[in-house]
C-alpha cells in the first residue's frame, strides 16, 4: 500500500490528510485546554484543517474545481468574523475581571 508521492500530491490527498491532522490537533487542544483564548485558537486550528480538506479535495489531477474554493473563501470570512467576536468577548471578560479584582484587594488590604 505504498502510493507514489506525485499521485498523492496531484489528487490533493496530501492536503486532506494534513487537514485531518490539523482537525485532530485542534480538537485535542480544545478539549484539554481551559482558557477561552486557547480554546479560540484551537477552534481556529480545526477551522484551518477543515478548509484544507475542503480546498484539497476539490483539486483534480488536471484542473482545479472552483466550487470548493468559493466555499473556502466564504468559510474563512465567517471564521475571521467569529474569531474577532470571540476575542472581543474574551477581552471584555478579562477587563471585567480586572476591574473587579483591585476593588476586592483594596477591601482586604486598606491603603497604608
Amino acid at each position: 500500500m505504498d502510493l507514489p508521492l506525485p499521485v498523492l500530491l496531484s489528487t490533493g490527498h496530501l492536503y486532506a490528510v494534513t487537514g485531518a491532522a490539523l482537525v485532530g490537533l485542534g480538537l485535542y487542544a480544545f478539549i484539554t485546554l481551559r482558557h477561552p483564548l486557547r480554546q479560540l485558537l484551537a477552534v481556529n486550528v480545526v477551522g484551518a484543517g477543515i478548509f484544507l480538506i475542503l480546498g484539497g479535495l476539490g483539486r483534480g489531477p488536471d484542473a482545479t474545481d472552483p466550487f470548493p474554493q468559493a466555499l473556502v473563501i466564504t468559510g474563512i470570512v465567517v471564521a475571521v468574523a467569529l474569531t474577532a467576536f470571540g476575542a472581543a468577548m474574551i477581552v471584555r471578560q478579562a477587563q471585567t475581571r480586572a476591574a473587579a479584582k483591585p476593588a476586592a484587594d483594596d477591601n482586604e488590604n486598606p491603603a497604608p
Binding site: V23, L40, I53, G58, F67, V78, L82, F85, Q93
Partner: protein, 490 residues
C-alpha cells in the same frame, strides 16, 4: 422581487439602519414588525411551488430559496414572535441597571437573528445553511452576553465547535457529490462511508445548536441569565434553526441513507430529553432556569417525532405534529419568557416562592403565563395540544408505545413543574395579608399585551388545526413532488 428574498433582505436593511441610527434605532421595530408580518403572510399564501434562485445562478452553483410548508410556518411564527418581542422590548428596554448602552445593541442583533433565521428556513443549500447558522449563533451569543458574559462565552465555544462539525460534514459532502443542494443531493445520495460520516458530523454539530439532550448543557445558564426579551428569542428561534436543518438533512437530502436504527437514536435522545428536561425543571427553585429547562424538554418532542415521521407510509400526521409543535413552542415559550421577565421585575426577585400575590397585582401577565402553560402542557384547545395529539396518534398507530408513553408522561411532568410556578402567583403574599398594593407596579401597556398576544396565538392555533396541517404538507419531502419552477428573471 419576491417575498422570498425580501424576507432575508429587509431584516438586514433594518439591521444596518438600527446600527446607524443608534439610540433612536429602536423605533424601527414599529415599521419592521408589520412589514415582516405582512411579508410572512404573503409567503404563506404563495402558490405551493414558489421558489427563487438568488442572482439567477442555476443549480448546482446557485442558491435556491424555496417556500415549503415548514419554512412558511416557521417564518410566520418568527415574524410574530420577533414582532411581539420587539414591541415588548420597545416599552421595556432590555438592560441591566447601569448598562444603559445595552438596550441600544439589542436591536441590530434582533434583526441579524431575523435575517439569519428567515434565510435558514428558506434555503436548500447546505453551505448557505452554514452561513445562516453562524448569523443566528452570532446574534444568539451576543444576546446571551447581555445577561452573563461567562455563560455566553461557554455557549460561543460549544456553538463554534458545532458549526465546525457541521462545516466538516459539508466539506465531505462537497468532495463526495460536488453539490450542496438538498434537492440535488436527494437524487444522488448513497449510503457509503463518506456520506454516513458527513451526515453524522453535520447531525452532531446541529444537535449542539438545537440543544438536544445530552448536548443541552450550554442552554439553561445562557437562556436563564439573559434579559427576558433576549431569552425569548434564544429559546423560540435560535434552537429551531438547528432543528429545521436536521429535518432538511434527514428527511430530504439523505432520506435514502438514514436507517430506522439511526432515527430511533434521535427519537430516543428526544425521549430522554423530555424526561430529563422535565425532571430538571421540577428541581429548579428559580423561575427563569425552570423555563429554560422546559425548553430542553420541549426540544425533545421535536426529535421524538423523527422516527414517527419515518416509520409510516402516510407521514402527514406525524409531520404536521412535528412542525406544529415547533411553532406552538415558539409562540408559547416566547410568551412565557416575556411574562416571566415582567413578573420577576415586579417582585424584584428570581425565586418561584417570591411570586406570591402576583395574580392580583398583574392579572394580564399571569394570564399570559397561564395560557402559555396550557399550550406547553398540551391541554386542549391549543397549538401544543394539536401537535401532541397528532404525534400521539401517529405513535399509537405504529405501535410505538414507548414514544406514546413519553408523550403522555412528558405532558404530566410539564403540568407538575409549570403549575408549581403558576400556583405560586396565586399564593397569598407571605406576611402582608391580602393587600397587594406593595407588590410592585401594576404593569399594563404594550409590554404586558405582547406576551398575552403570543400566548393567545398559541391557543388560537388549536382552532386552526387542519388549515395548519395543510400548510405544513406543502412541498413536504414525502408528498408528491412538484417540479420546482424558479421565478423568471424580471
Amino acid at each position: 422581487m419576491s417575498p422570498l428574498d425580501l424576507l432575508m433582505a429587509a431584516p438586514l436593511g433594518f439591521m444596518a439602519a438600527a446600527l446607524m441610527l443608534g439610540p433612536s434605532g429602536r423605533w424601527l421595530i414599529l415599521l419592521a414588525a408589520p412589514l415582516m408580518a405582512g411579508l410572512a403572510l404573503w409567503l404563506a399564501l404563495l402558490p405551493p411551488d414558489a421558489a427563487y434562485l438568488v442572482g439567477q445562478w442555476d443549480l448546482p452553483l446557485g442558491i435556491l430559496l424555496r417556500a415549503d410548508g415548514v419554512a412558511r410556518l416557521m417564518i410566520l411564527a418568527t415574524a410574530l414572535v420577533i414582532g411581539a418581542v420587539g414591541l415588548h422590548a420597545l416599552a421595556e428596554p432590555p438592560e441591566k441597571p447601569g448598562h444603559a448602552a445595552q438596550a441600544e445593541t439589542f436591536w441590530p442583533l434582533v434583526y441579524l437573528m431575523w435575517a439569519g433565521a428567515n434565510a435558514g428556513f428558506l434555503t436548500t443549500d447546505l453551505f448557505n445553511l452554514y452561513v445562516t447558522l453562524e448569523m443566528v449563533s452570532l446574534a444568539a451569543v451576543a444576546l446571551a452576553a447581555m445577561g452573563s458574559l461567562a455563560a455566553a462565552l461557554r455557549y460561543f465555544m460549544i456553538a463554534l465547535l458545532g458549526s465546525l462539525a457541521y462545516l466538516l460534514g459539508v466539506a465531505l459532502t462537497v468532495a463526495r457529490y460536488d453539490t450542496v443542494d438538498v434537492i440535488l443531493l436527494a437524487q444522488v445520495a448513497e449510503a457509503d462511508l463518506a456520506t454516513l460520516l458527513a451526515l453524522g458530523l453535520m447531525t452532531a454539530g446541529l444537535l449542539i445548536k438545537a440543544a438536544l439532550f445530552p448536548m443541552h448543557g450550554w442552554l439553561p445558564p445562557a437562556h436563564a441569565a439573559a434579559p427576558a426579551p433576549a431569552s425569548a428569542l434564544l429559546s423560540a428561534i435560535a434552537v429551531k434553526l438547528g432543528f429545521v436543518i436536521l429535518v432538511r438533512l434527514w428527511f430530504e437530502a439523505f432520506a435514502a441513507v438514514t436507517g430506522p436504527a439511526a432515527l430511533h437514536v434521535l427519537g430516543g435522545l428526544g425521549a430522554a430529553a423530555v424526561i430529563y428536561g422535565s425532571i430538571q425543571a421540577m428541581r429548579q427553585d428559580r423561575l427563569k432556569p425552570l423555563v429554560a429547562y422546559s425548553t430542553v424538554a420541549q426540544v425533545g418532542y421535536l426529535f421524538l417525532a423523527f422516527p414517527l415521521v419515518a416509520g409510516t407510509v402516510e407521514p402527514s400526521g406525524a409531520w404536521a405534529g412535528m412542525t406544529l409543535h415547533g411553532v406552538a413552542h415558539m409562540l408559547a415559550k416566547a410568551a412565557m419568557f416575556l411574562a416571566a421577565g415582567l413578573m420577576l421585575k415586579a417582585v424584584a426577585g428570581d425565586r418561584i416562592a417570591d411570586l406570591g400575590g402576583l395574580a392580583q397585582a398583574m392579572p394580564l401577565t399571569v394570564t399570559a403565563f397561564g395560557l402559555a402553560v396550557v399550550s406547553l402542557m398540551g391541554l386542549p384547545p391549543s397549538g401544543g395540544f394539536t401537535a401532541k395529539f397528532l404525534l400521539l396518534s401517529a405513535a399509537i398507530e405504529q405501535g410505538a408505545f414507548l414514544y406514546a408513553g413519553v408523550l403522555v408522561i412528558g405532558g404530566l411532568l410539564a403540568a407538575v413543574y409549570l403549575f408549581r410556578a403558576l400556583s405560586a402567583c396565586f399564593a397569598p403574599l407571605a406576611g402582608a395579608g391580602p393587600d397587594t398594593a406593595s407588590r410592585g407596579p401594576v404593569t399594563g401597556g404594550v409590554q404586558a399585551v405582547a406576551p398575552l398576544a403570543l400566548a393567545g396565538l398559541a391557543i388560537v392555533m388549536g382552532f386552526a388545526g387542519t388549515a395548519l396541517v395543510d400548510v405544513s404538507a406543502i412541498e413536504a419531502p414525502w408528498a408528491t413532488p412538484t417540479v420546482i419552477q424558479p421565478e423568471a428573471a424580471p
